[in-house]
């Protein structure tokens, strides 16, 4: 059964088989991403569990034409893991009801540059980047740092961080498009 069909079954009603099948297909990718971001097994497990909660609660909102199920589920995992990471960084005296966002929400997912990308292709594209651009992108994506935090971490001016990220993503897109 296709990924899309499994999501449709979740959206149509409760279907533990569909939930179990989706877990089996994507737990490795989701947990690997969560581990890479949180660098903590317990936090990564929380992120994956929260991501699955987001998946089945939002199955009906999945837009098949926009991104693959894999992309969608990894985007949700990334969102949850970064949120956990940022929560851990902040020291909050009390919960702030005005901030934070619903675990039920899922991030906007940009359309795939390609649905046929594999790990080696993406790594190859990353490796074409100058080290400073790669670092800026990785600090943002895998560590959840903001522009200001990246500037502080790397010692680069804000404007330089902005340029590095933009140029790095442009370069990656160019390489990945050529792979299609």
């Amino acid at each position: 059964m296709s990924d899309e069909s499994l999501l449709e079954r979740l959206a149509a009603g409760t279907d533990q088989h569909a939930a179990s099948e989706l877990y089996d297909r994507y737990q490795g990718a989701m947990y690997g991403l969560a581990i890479r971001i949180t660098r903590d097994q317990a936090l990564a497990q929380d992120a994956v569990q929260e991501a699955f909660v987001g998946v089945w609660r939002n199955a009906s909102r999945y837009a098949a034409g926009r991104a693959s199920v894999r992309t969608w589920m990894l985007a949700i995992t990334h969102h949850r893991a970064i949120d956990i990471l940022r929560r851990r960084r902040a020291t909050i005296e009390m919960p702030d009801a005005d901030s934070g966002e619903s675990a039920l929400s899922v991030p906007d997912v940009w359309p795939d540059v390609s649905r046929s990308l594999d790990r080696d292709t993406v790594r190859g594209a990353i490796e074409t980047l100058p080290a400073a651009q790669r670092q800026a992108i990785e600090l943002a994506y895998f560590e959840g740092l903001t522009q200001v935090e990246i500037a502080e971490r790397t010692g680069a001016p804000l404007g330089t961080v902005k340029s590095r990220v933009r140029l790095g993503l442009q370069q990656m897109r160019s390489v990945l498009e050529d792979e299609r």
């Binding site: 690997g32 992309t71 909050i92 675990a103 522009q147 933009r166 897109r173």
Partner: protein
């Protein structure tokens, strides 16, 4: 700032938006700046194809990571969480008789042993995996009436779905009545981490009678129990221990109101409860007083 700037969509120029596109699609801007760009994109008559062009690269970054098999136990946790979700959202849920231990009174303060301030650190308001509607997360805390309406609708749904046995149905009805009462105070409870699927509320009448309702509550680990806490100026005081029924429902009554409670929190504690929390909260909710 000139009038020209103020007249720009979102107060930011197209050129600046383009410059910031990479950081925007990576969610690496400060919130205020991200909001300005979102406002610009919503209002600008000019197309901004750079957003989709750069944004398309972002999902690919996840593919660069090696897959790692999750611990076998995680699948059990995830599917248990799914089962609770399925149970709570089924059009006609099965019998959900609550089995809640009567809350124990808070231990008497011991002046000789002052309790260290208990900080709820690193905890955003739960909002994740809650059984409450997603859009509740968008409701400002100050909009107490709207929050109340949202919680009431959610709770009524629970009441209608659940085939509660008579006594629990009456308790649930009383909890809803308290929630709707002018002058009542309440907190929306939402779970964190392993309790991500938990949702519910606490409501206190102006007379100080309190109720707690939660759904999707996982069974406490062996030797452990759930314990609720009033948090007043960072200091926790016990509100009693409780357990969920087989369907993950907690419907408790008899909670006395404690003046000055800012937050209600729930921790896992050794069976019998603790005089002070021994672990971080897994469910929290900020108290709001209804006008």
């Amino acid at each position: 700032m000139s009038d020209d700037i103020r007249n720009l969509p979102g107060g930011i120029s197209c050129a600046d938006v383009s410059e910031l596109a990479g950081l925007y699609v990576l969610d690496a801007l400060e919130p205020a700046e991200a909001e300005r760009i979102a406002a610009h994109l919503a209002a600008c008559p000019e197309p901004h194809p750079e957003m989709a062009e750069l944004g398309a690269v972002v999902p690919a970054l996840a593919l660069s990571v090696d897959e790692v098999d999750a611990p076998a136990d995680l699948k059990r946790r995830v599917l248990e969480s799914y089962d609770r979700y399925a149970m709570a959202t089924a059009p006609t849920a099965g019998v959900a008789s609550a089995a809640v231990a009567a809350p124990r009174p808070a231990p008497a303060p011991d002046a000789s042993a002052p309790v260290a301030p208990w900080r709820i650190e690193d905890q955003q308001p739960a909002r994740r995996g809650s059984a409450l509607p997603q859009w509740l997360g968008w409701v400002a805390a100050g909009a107490a009436v709207l929050v109340l309406a949202v919680v009431s609708v959610w709770a009524l749904g629970i009441q209608q779905r659940a085939n509660l046995e008579t006594q629990r149905a009456e308790t649930m009805a009383a909890a809803l009545e308290t929630l709707a009462q002018p002058g009542s105070s309440f907190a929306v409870l939402e779970g964190l981490g392993p309790a991500a699927g938990v949702g519910g509320f606490v409501a206190f009448s102006p007379q100080g009678e309190g109720y707690m309702v939660m759904t999707n509550v996982p069974e406490a680990p062996a030797g452990m129990t759930y314990q609720a806490w009033y948090v007043v100026d960072g200091q926790p005081a016990s509100a009693g221990t409780m357990s969920a029924d087989a369907e993950g429902f907690v419907i408790a009554e008899g909670l006395p109101a404690v003046e000055g409670t800012d937050v209600m929190a729930i921790t896992l504690e050794p069976v019998g409860g603790s005089a002070e929390p021994t672990s971080d909260p897994i469910v929290v909710g900020e108290m709001v007083t209804r006008a």
